[in-house]
Protein backbone atom coordinates (compact mmCIF):
# COMPACT_ATOMS: atom_id res chain seq x y z
CA UNK A 1 0.00 0.00 0.00
CA UNK A 2 1.36 3.46 -0.88
CA UNK A 3 1.92 6.15 1.79
CA UNK A 4 -1.06 8.10 0.44
CA UNK A 5 -3.31 5.05 0.64
CA UNK A 6 -2.13 4.29 4.19
CA UNK A 7 -2.86 7.92 5.14
CA UNK A 8 -6.36 7.72 3.62
CA UNK A 9 -7.00 4.41 5.36
CA UNK A 10 -6.10 6.03 8.69
CA UNK A 11 -8.21 9.12 8.07
CA UNK A 12 -11.41 7.17 7.38
CA UNK A 13 -11.87 5.61 10.85
CA UNK A 14 -10.69 8.89 12.44
CA UNK A 15 -13.44 10.83 10.65
CA UNK A 16 -15.96 8.17 11.68
CA UNK A 17 -14.84 8.44 15.31
CA UNK A 18 -14.96 12.25 15.06
CA UNK A 19 -18.53 12.02 13.82
CA UNK A 20 -19.52 9.84 16.78
CA UNK A 21 -17.80 12.22 19.19
CA UNK A 22 -19.43 15.35 17.78
CA UNK A 23 -22.81 13.60 17.88
CA UNK A 24 -22.21 12.86 21.61
CA UNK A 25 -21.27 16.52 22.17
CA UNK A 26 -24.46 17.59 20.41
CA UNK A 27 -26.56 15.29 22.63
CA UNK A 28 -24.89 16.67 25.76
CA UNK A 29 -25.48 20.25 24.63
CA UNK A 30 -29.14 19.44 23.95
CA UNK A 31 -29.50 18.26 27.55
CA UNK A 32 -27.77 21.42 28.83
CA UNK A 33 -30.16 23.56 26.76
CA UNK A 34 -33.11 21.82 28.45
CA UNK A 35 -31.62 22.45 31.88
CA UNK A 36 -30.88 26.08 30.99
CA UNK A 37 -34.54 26.52 30.15
CA UNK A 38 -35.44 25.12 33.58
CA UNK A 39 -33.16 27.71 35.27
CA UNK A 40 -35.07 30.52 33.60
CA UNK A 41 -38.35 29.32 35.16
CA UNK A 42 -36.65 28.76 38.51
CA UNK A 43 -35.21 32.30 38.43
CA UNK A 44 -38.66 33.76 37.74
CA UNK A 45 -40.12 31.85 40.70
CA UNK A 46 -37.26 33.04 42.88
CA UNK A 47 -37.91 36.67 41.89
CA UNK A 48 -41.59 36.32 42.86
CA UNK A 49 -40.65 34.64 46.12
CA UNK A 50 -38.15 37.41 46.95
CA UNK A 51 -40.81 40.05 46.26
CA UNK A 52 -43.18 38.32 48.66
CA UNK A 53 -40.45 38.12 51.28
CA UNK A 54 -39.93 41.89 51.01
CA UNK A 55 -36.94 43.68 52.53
CA UNK A 56 -35.66 40.57 54.30
CA UNK A 57 -34.90 38.99 50.90
CA UNK A 58 -33.65 42.07 49.07
CA UNK A 59 -30.19 40.57 48.55
CA UNK A 60 -31.73 37.31 47.38
CA UNK A 61 -33.92 39.28 44.97
CA UNK A 62 -30.90 40.97 43.41
CA UNK A 63 -29.20 37.58 42.97
CA UNK A 64 -32.38 36.06 41.50
CA UNK A 65 -32.41 38.80 38.88
CA UNK A 66 -28.77 38.06 38.13
CA UNK A 67 -29.53 34.35 37.85
CA UNK A 68 -32.34 35.10 35.41
CA UNK A 69 -29.93 37.15 33.29
CA UNK A 70 -27.47 34.27 33.60
CA UNK A 71 -30.05 31.75 32.40
CA UNK A 72 -30.82 33.88 29.34
CA UNK A 73 -27.11 34.33 28.60
CA UNK A 74 -26.67 30.59 29.00
CA UNK A 75 -29.44 29.87 26.52
CA UNK A 76 -27.87 32.24 23.98
CA UNK A 77 -24.52 30.62 24.59
CA UNK A 78 -25.99 27.12 24.11
CA UNK A 79 -27.71 28.23 20.93
CA UNK A 80 -24.39 29.44 19.56
CA UNK A 81 -22.72 26.18 20.68
CA UNK A 82 -25.44 24.20 18.90
CA UNK A 83 -24.73 26.17 15.70
CA UNK A 84 -21.02 25.39 16.00
CA UNK A 85 -21.69 21.70 16.64
CA UNK A 86 -23.88 21.53 13.55
CA UNK A 87 -21.11 23.17 11.51
CA UNK A 88 -18.69 20.55 12.85
CA UNK A 89 -21.11 17.73 11.94
CA UNK A 90 -21.35 19.19 8.41
CA UNK A 91 -17.57 19.35 8.08
CA UNK A 92 -16.96 15.86 9.45
CA UNK A 93 -19.67 14.43 7.16
CA UNK A 94 -18.11 16.20 4.17
CA UNK A 95 -14.72 14.79 5.12
CA UNK A 96 -16.17 11.28 5.26
CA UNK A 97 -17.47 11.79 1.72
CA UNK A 98 -14.09 13.26 0.67
CA UNK A 99 -12.30 10.23 2.04
CA UNK A 100 -14.50 7.85 0.05
CA UNK A 101 -14.20 9.87 -3.15
CA UNK A 102 -10.45 10.24 -2.74
CA UNK A 103 -10.05 6.50 -2.15
CA UNK A 104 -11.98 5.75 -5.35
CA UNK A 105 -10.09 8.39 -7.34
CA UNK A 106 -6.75 7.03 -6.08
CA UNK A 107 -7.73 3.57 -7.23
CA UNK A 108 -8.68 5.05 -10.62
CA UNK A 109 -5.29 6.81 -10.84
CA UNK A 110 -3.47 3.63 -9.91
CA UNK A 111 -5.30 1.74 -12.65
CA UNK A 112 -5.07 4.42 -15.32
CA UNK A 113 -2.19 5.53 -17.49
CA UNK A 114 -3.67 8.98 -18.25
CA UNK A 115 -1.58 11.78 -16.68
CA UNK A 116 -4.56 14.16 -16.44
CA UNK A 117 -6.20 11.78 -13.97
CA UNK A 118 -3.49 12.61 -11.44
CA UNK A 119 -4.32 16.33 -11.86
CA UNK A 120 -7.96 15.66 -10.94
CA UNK A 121 -6.81 13.72 -7.89
CA UNK A 122 -4.49 16.58 -6.93
CA UNK A 123 -7.40 19.04 -7.22
CA UNK A 124 -9.51 16.71 -5.07
CA UNK A 125 -6.76 16.63 -2.44
CA UNK A 126 -6.52 20.43 -2.40
CA UNK A 127 -10.28 20.52 -1.80
CA UNK A 128 -9.92 17.87 0.94
CA UNK A 129 -7.28 20.00 2.63
CA UNK A 130 -9.60 23.01 2.48
CA UNK A 131 -12.33 20.97 4.16
CA UNK A 132 -9.88 19.66 6.76
CA UNK A 133 -8.79 23.22 7.57
CA UNK A 134 -12.40 24.28 7.84
CA UNK A 135 -13.05 21.47 10.34
CA UNK A 136 -9.93 22.39 12.24
CA UNK A 137 -11.13 26.00 12.49
CA UNK A 138 -14.61 24.89 13.60
CA UNK A 139 -13.08 22.60 16.18
CA UNK A 140 -11.01 25.45 17.66
CA UNK A 141 -14.01 27.77 17.64
CA UNK A 142 -16.17 25.18 19.40
CA UNK A 143 -13.48 24.61 21.99
CA UNK A 144 -13.23 28.36 22.69
CA UNK A 145 -17.01 28.67 22.92
CA UNK A 146 -17.12 25.76 25.38
CA UNK A 147 -14.44 27.41 27.52
CA UNK A 148 -16.46 30.63 27.58
CA UNK A 149 -19.62 28.71 28.45
CA UNK A 150 -17.74 26.95 31.23
CA UNK A 151 -16.52 30.26 32.69
CA UNK A 152 -20.05 31.63 32.50
CA UNK A 153 -21.42 28.60 34.34
CA UNK A 154 -18.75 28.92 37.01
CA UNK A 155 -19.94 32.48 37.54
CA UNK A 156 -23.52 31.12 37.70
CA UNK A 157 -22.30 28.71 40.40
CA UNK A 158 -20.95 31.62 42.42
CA UNK A 159 -24.30 33.40 42.07
CA UNK A 160 -26.18 30.27 43.19
CA UNK A 161 -23.92 29.87 46.22
CA UNK A 162 -24.32 33.56 47.13
CA UNK A 163 -28.10 33.10 46.83
CA UNK A 164 -27.84 30.23 49.31
CA UNK A 165 -26.09 32.56 51.79
CA UNK A 166 -28.61 35.35 51.22
CA UNK A 167 -31.44 32.85 51.75
CA UNK A 168 -30.32 32.44 55.35
CA UNK A 169 -31.20 36.11 55.96
CA UNK A 170 -34.72 35.62 54.67
CA UNK A 171 -36.27 35.36 58.17
CA UNK A 172 -39.64 33.58 57.85
CA UNK A 173 -38.90 32.94 54.13
CA UNK A 174 -35.48 31.43 54.89
CA UNK A 175 -36.62 27.82 54.29
CA UNK A 176 -38.31 28.31 50.88
CA UNK A 177 -35.53 30.69 49.76
CA UNK A 178 -32.93 28.17 50.82
CA UNK A 179 -34.77 25.42 48.96
CA UNK A 180 -34.89 27.51 45.76
CA UNK A 181 -31.22 28.52 46.01
CA UNK A 182 -30.18 24.88 46.60
CA UNK A 183 -32.08 23.85 43.49
CA UNK A 184 -30.23 26.57 41.58
CA UNK A 185 -26.94 25.38 42.89
CA UNK A 186 -27.75 21.78 41.98
CA UNK A 187 -28.80 22.63 38.44
CA UNK A 188 -25.83 24.92 37.79
CA UNK A 189 -23.52 22.19 39.10
CA UNK A 190 -25.18 19.71 36.74
CA UNK A 191 -24.45 22.03 33.81
CA UNK A 192 -20.90 22.64 35.03
CA UNK A 193 -20.20 18.90 35.14
CA UNK A 194 -21.62 18.46 31.62
CA UNK A 195 -19.51 21.29 30.22
CA UNK A 196 -16.45 20.06 32.07
CA UNK A 197 -16.74 16.68 30.36
CA UNK A 198 -17.35 18.36 26.98
CA UNK A 199 -14.21 20.50 27.37
CA UNK A 200 -12.19 17.33 27.72
CA UNK A 201 -13.85 15.48 24.85
CA UNK A 202 -11.36 13.56 22.72
CA UNK A 203 -12.89 15.41 19.75
CA UNK A 204 -10.64 18.34 20.70
CA UNK A 205 -7.55 16.17 20.93
CA UNK A 206 -7.50 15.85 17.11
CA UNK A 207 -5.83 18.70 15.22
Amino acid sequence: MTTALVSAARKAPQAGVDLMRIVRINEEIKSVVNVAFKINIMALNAIFLAKRAGTAARGFGVLSNELRVFSQDLRDCMSSLTGLVHACVDDVSRMLQDIRHTRLLRQAVAMSSKPEVAAVLAAREVENERHAQSLSGQRRQLKRALEEAFRMVELGGVLAKSAKIEAAYGQSFAVPLSQVSSEFDGVVEEIRVSLESLRHSAFFATK
Binding site: R100, H101, L104, L105, Q107, A108, A110, M111, S112, S113, K114, E116, V117, V120, A123, R124
Partner: protein, 246 residues
Protein backbone atom coordinates in the same frame (compact mmCIF):
# COMPACT_ATOMS: atom_id res chain seq x y z
CA UNK B 1 -10.09 -3.78 -13.95
CA UNK B 2 -12.95 -4.05 -16.41
CA UNK B 3 -12.42 -4.82 -20.05
CA UNK B 4 -13.67 -2.85 -23.01
CA UNK B 5 -15.12 -4.31 -26.20
CA UNK B 6 -16.04 -2.22 -29.20
CA UNK B 7 -19.37 -3.68 -30.24
CA UNK B 8 -20.12 -1.18 -33.01
CA UNK B 9 -17.87 1.07 -35.05
CA UNK B 10 -18.36 3.30 -38.04
CA UNK B 11 -15.51 5.81 -38.17
CA UNK B 12 -15.48 7.67 -34.86
CA UNK B 13 -19.02 6.56 -34.09
CA UNK B 14 -18.60 3.73 -31.61
CA UNK B 15 -20.37 1.71 -28.98
CA UNK B 16 -17.92 0.43 -26.41
CA UNK B 17 -19.06 -2.08 -23.79
CA UNK B 18 -17.25 -1.85 -20.44
CA UNK B 19 -17.74 -5.20 -18.81
CA UNK B 20 -16.68 -7.99 -16.46
CA UNK B 21 -14.28 -7.09 -13.69
CA UNK B 22 -12.67 -10.25 -12.28
CA UNK B 23 -11.64 -8.27 -9.18
CA UNK B 24 -15.14 -7.01 -8.41
CA UNK B 25 -16.24 -7.96 -4.89
CA UNK B 26 -19.04 -10.54 -4.97
CA UNK B 27 -21.39 -8.48 -2.83
CA UNK B 28 -21.79 -5.95 -5.67
CA UNK B 29 -24.03 -6.82 -8.59
CA UNK B 30 -22.11 -6.89 -11.86
CA UNK B 31 -22.98 -4.09 -14.28
CA UNK B 32 -22.31 -3.31 -17.92
CA UNK B 33 -21.55 0.25 -18.89
CA UNK B 34 -21.72 1.44 -22.49
CA UNK B 35 -19.86 4.36 -23.98
CA UNK B 36 -21.15 5.93 -27.18
CA UNK B 37 -18.62 8.12 -28.94
CA UNK B 38 -19.23 10.41 -31.89
CA UNK B 39 -17.38 13.45 -33.23
CA UNK B 40 -14.89 13.43 -30.36
CA UNK B 41 -17.59 13.49 -27.70
CA UNK B 42 -18.80 10.68 -25.50
CA UNK B 43 -21.91 9.72 -23.60
CA UNK B 44 -21.74 7.02 -20.95
CA UNK B 45 -24.90 4.97 -20.43
CA UNK B 46 -25.59 4.01 -16.81
CA UNK B 47 -22.10 4.98 -15.59
CA UNK B 48 -22.32 2.61 -12.62
CA UNK B 49 -22.03 2.68 -8.88
CA UNK B 50 -19.40 4.62 -6.94
CA UNK B 51 -17.63 1.45 -5.82
CA UNK B 52 -17.04 0.26 -9.39
CA UNK B 53 -15.94 3.72 -10.56
CA UNK B 54 -12.17 2.96 -10.51
CA UNK B 55 -12.63 -0.13 -12.65
CA UNK B 56 -14.99 1.58 -15.11
CA UNK B 57 -12.92 4.74 -15.24
CA UNK B 58 -9.64 3.01 -15.91
CA UNK B 59 -11.16 0.85 -18.64
CA UNK B 60 -12.87 3.83 -20.24
CA UNK B 61 -9.82 6.07 -20.05
CA UNK B 62 -7.79 3.48 -21.93
CA UNK B 63 -10.13 4.05 -24.91
CA UNK B 64 -11.34 7.60 -24.52
CA UNK B 65 -10.43 10.92 -22.89
CA UNK B 66 -12.72 11.04 -19.83
CA UNK B 67 -12.73 14.84 -19.86
CA UNK B 68 -14.45 14.63 -23.30
CA UNK B 69 -17.46 12.91 -21.76
CA UNK B 70 -20.19 15.35 -22.64
CA UNK B 71 -22.94 13.49 -20.89
CA UNK B 72 -24.07 10.50 -18.96
CA UNK B 73 -27.45 8.87 -19.29
CA UNK B 74 -29.14 7.33 -16.27
CA UNK B 75 -31.84 4.86 -17.30
CA UNK B 76 -33.33 5.21 -13.84
CA UNK B 77 -32.42 6.13 -10.28
CA UNK B 78 -30.85 3.00 -8.82
CA UNK B 79 -27.41 3.32 -7.19
CA UNK B 80 -25.85 0.74 -9.50
CA UNK B 81 -26.75 2.93 -12.47
CA UNK B 82 -25.34 6.28 -11.40
CA UNK B 83 -24.11 6.65 -7.82
CA UNK B 84 -20.67 7.36 -9.32
CA UNK B 85 -22.00 10.62 -10.79
CA UNK B 86 -20.05 12.92 -8.43
CA UNK B 87 -16.79 11.21 -9.37
CA UNK B 88 -17.38 11.59 -13.12
CA UNK B 89 -18.18 15.24 -12.56
CA UNK B 90 -14.74 15.71 -10.99
CA UNK B 91 -13.31 15.13 -14.46
CA UNK B 92 -15.74 17.32 -16.30
CA UNK B 93 -17.91 19.57 -14.12
CA UNK B 94 -19.77 20.74 -17.24
CA UNK B 95 -20.93 17.19 -18.02
CA UNK B 96 -24.70 16.73 -18.27
CA UNK B 97 -26.81 13.91 -16.90
CA UNK B 98 -29.92 12.95 -18.89
CA UNK B 99 -32.54 11.38 -16.69
CA UNK B 100 -36.30 11.00 -16.37
CA UNK B 101 -37.93 14.16 -15.00
CA UNK B 102 -39.25 11.93 -12.24
CA UNK B 103 -35.80 11.48 -10.72
CA UNK B 104 -34.46 14.97 -11.23
CA UNK B 105 -34.81 15.77 -7.55
CA UNK B 106 -33.49 12.41 -6.39
CA UNK B 107 -30.36 11.74 -8.42
CA UNK B 108 -28.69 15.00 -7.29
CA UNK B 109 -28.21 13.16 -3.98
CA UNK B 110 -25.46 11.29 -5.86
CA UNK B 111 -23.84 14.58 -6.97
CA UNK B 112 -24.12 17.43 -9.46
CA UNK B 113 -25.85 20.77 -9.27
CA UNK B 114 -28.92 22.37 -10.82
CA UNK B 115 -27.13 22.75 -14.17
CA UNK B 116 -26.05 19.11 -14.35
CA UNK B 117 -29.43 17.54 -15.06
CA UNK B 118 -31.42 17.42 -18.26
CA UNK B 119 -34.95 16.11 -17.70
CA UNK B 120 -36.44 13.63 -20.13
CA UNK B 121 -40.24 13.92 -20.44
CA UNK B 122 -42.37 10.78 -20.15
CA UNK B 123 -42.84 10.48 -23.91
CA UNK B 124 -39.06 10.38 -24.47
CA UNK B 125 -36.71 12.78 -26.23
CA UNK B 126 -33.90 13.05 -28.74
CA UNK B 127 -30.46 13.57 -27.27
CA UNK B 128 -27.75 14.97 -29.50
CA UNK B 129 -24.18 13.79 -29.22
CA UNK B 130 -22.05 15.92 -31.49
CA UNK B 131 -24.66 15.72 -34.26
CA UNK B 132 -25.63 12.10 -33.64
CA UNK B 133 -29.26 11.75 -32.59
CA UNK B 134 -29.96 9.27 -29.85
CA UNK B 135 -33.54 8.52 -28.83
CA UNK B 136 -34.54 8.12 -25.19
CA UNK B 137 -37.24 5.43 -25.51
CA UNK B 138 -39.84 5.18 -22.71
CA UNK B 139 -39.59 2.01 -20.61
CA UNK B 140 -41.56 3.14 -17.58
CA UNK B 141 -42.19 0.59 -14.84
CA UNK B 142 -39.50 -1.65 -16.36
CA UNK B 143 -38.55 -1.67 -13.61
CA UNK B 144 -38.48 1.91 -12.39
CA UNK B 145 -41.53 4.16 -12.63
CA UNK B 146 -39.46 6.70 -14.58
CA UNK B 147 -37.34 4.62 -16.92
CA UNK B 148 -35.75 5.10 -20.35
CA UNK B 149 -33.67 3.15 -22.82
CA UNK B 150 -31.40 4.61 -25.49
CA UNK B 151 -31.85 3.80 -29.16
CA UNK B 152 -29.19 4.66 -31.69
CA UNK B 153 -30.90 4.42 -35.06
CA UNK B 154 -27.67 4.83 -37.01
CA UNK B 155 -25.90 2.02 -35.18
CA UNK B 156 -29.10 -0.03 -34.73
CA UNK B 157 -28.24 -0.49 -31.08
CA UNK B 158 -30.59 -0.41 -28.10
CA UNK B 159 -29.38 0.10 -24.55
CA UNK B 160 -32.14 -1.61 -22.58
CA UNK B 161 -31.19 -0.95 -18.94
CA UNK B 162 -32.57 -3.71 -16.73
CA UNK B 163 -34.68 -5.21 -19.53
CA UNK B 164 -32.82 -8.22 -20.88
CA UNK B 165 -30.69 -8.41 -17.74
CA UNK B 166 -29.49 -11.78 -16.54
CA UNK B 167 -27.69 -12.84 -13.39
CA UNK B 168 -25.07 -15.08 -14.88
CA UNK B 169 -23.23 -17.79 -12.96
CA UNK B 170 -19.44 -17.99 -13.15
CA UNK B 171 -18.30 -19.64 -16.33
CA UNK B 172 -21.41 -18.57 -18.25
CA UNK B 173 -20.63 -14.88 -18.35
CA UNK B 174 -19.71 -14.36 -21.98
CA UNK B 175 -20.34 -10.90 -23.47
CA UNK B 176 -22.91 -12.15 -25.98
CA UNK B 177 -25.80 -14.55 -25.61
CA UNK B 178 -24.71 -17.77 -27.26
CA UNK B 179 -27.56 -20.18 -26.53
CA UNK B 180 -30.76 -18.23 -26.05
CA UNK B 181 -32.76 -20.99 -24.32
CA UNK B 182 -29.95 -21.72 -21.92
CA UNK B 183 -29.27 -18.06 -21.26
CA UNK B 184 -32.85 -16.96 -20.71
CA UNK B 185 -33.19 -19.16 -17.61
CA UNK B 186 -30.83 -16.75 -15.88
CA UNK B 187 -33.05 -13.84 -16.91
CA UNK B 188 -36.46 -15.24 -16.03
CA UNK B 189 -36.50 -14.80 -12.24
CA UNK B 190 -35.03 -11.34 -12.58
CA UNK B 191 -37.72 -10.18 -15.00
CA UNK B 192 -40.61 -11.76 -13.11
CA UNK B 193 -39.57 -10.00 -9.91
CA UNK B 194 -38.09 -6.67 -11.05
CA UNK B 195 -40.56 -5.82 -13.79
CA UNK B 196 -43.72 -4.60 -12.18
CA UNK B 197 -46.33 -4.18 -14.92
CA UNK B 198 -47.55 -6.53 -17.64
CA UNK B 199 -49.22 -3.59 -19.39
CA UNK B 200 -46.01 -1.56 -19.43
CA UNK B 201 -44.11 -4.60 -20.66
CA UNK B 202 -46.56 -5.13 -23.54
CA UNK B 203 -46.25 -1.48 -24.59
CA UNK B 204 -42.47 -1.68 -24.50
CA UNK B 205 -42.47 -4.87 -26.60
CA UNK B 206 -44.74 -3.26 -29.17
CA UNK B 207 -42.60 -0.12 -29.23
CA UNK B 208 -39.21 -1.78 -29.65
CA UNK B 209 -40.49 -4.42 -32.08
CA UNK B 210 -40.86 -1.54 -34.57
CA UNK B 211 -37.20 -0.55 -34.24
CA UNK B 212 -34.35 -1.94 -36.31
CA UNK B 213 -32.09 -3.43 -33.67
CA UNK B 214 -28.91 -5.37 -34.23
CA UNK B 215 -27.97 -5.53 -30.56
CA UNK B 216 -29.98 -5.24 -27.38
CA UNK B 217 -27.58 -4.26 -24.63
CA UNK B 218 -28.72 -4.73 -21.02
CA UNK B 219 -27.10 -3.27 -17.92
CA UNK B 220 -26.50 -6.74 -16.45
CA UNK B 221 -25.59 -9.96 -18.18
CA UNK B 222 -25.04 -10.66 -21.86
CA UNK B 223 -25.86 -8.77 -25.06
CA UNK B 224 -28.53 -10.13 -27.43
CA UNK B 225 -27.66 -9.86 -31.09
CA UNK B 226 -29.14 -10.79 -34.41
CA UNK B 227 -32.19 -13.03 -34.17
CA UNK B 228 -31.85 -13.28 -30.41
CA UNK B 229 -33.10 -9.68 -30.20
CA UNK B 230 -36.56 -10.54 -31.56
CA UNK B 231 -36.45 -13.82 -29.68
CA UNK B 232 -35.97 -11.91 -26.47
CA UNK B 233 -38.78 -9.45 -27.26
CA UNK B 234 -41.16 -12.33 -27.96
CA UNK B 235 -40.09 -14.16 -24.82
CA UNK B 236 -40.55 -11.04 -22.71
CA UNK B 237 -43.95 -10.35 -24.25
CA UNK B 238 -45.15 -13.79 -23.15
CA UNK B 239 -43.68 -13.62 -19.65
CA UNK B 240 -45.96 -12.84 -16.72
CA UNK B 241 -44.18 -10.28 -14.57
CA UNK B 242 -44.81 -8.55 -11.24
CA UNK B 243 -44.77 -11.87 -9.45
CA UNK B 244 -43.18 -12.76 -6.16
CA UNK B 245 -43.18 -16.14 -4.47
CA UNK B 246 -44.26 -15.93 -0.88
Amino acid sequence: MKTTRTIFQDGDHKWIAIVRDPEKPNHLIDTNEYLITHGGQGMLLDPGGAEVFPAVFSALSAEFDPSALAAVFASHQDPDTCSSLALWLEFNPAMRCHVSWLWRGFIPHFGGNADTFVSIPDEGADISLSGLTLRAVPAHYLHSSGNFHIYDKTARMLFSGDVGAALLPPGEDGLFVEHFDKHIRHAEGFHRRWMGSNEAKRRWCERVAQLDIDMLCPQHGAIYQGEDVQRFINWFDELQVGIVNG
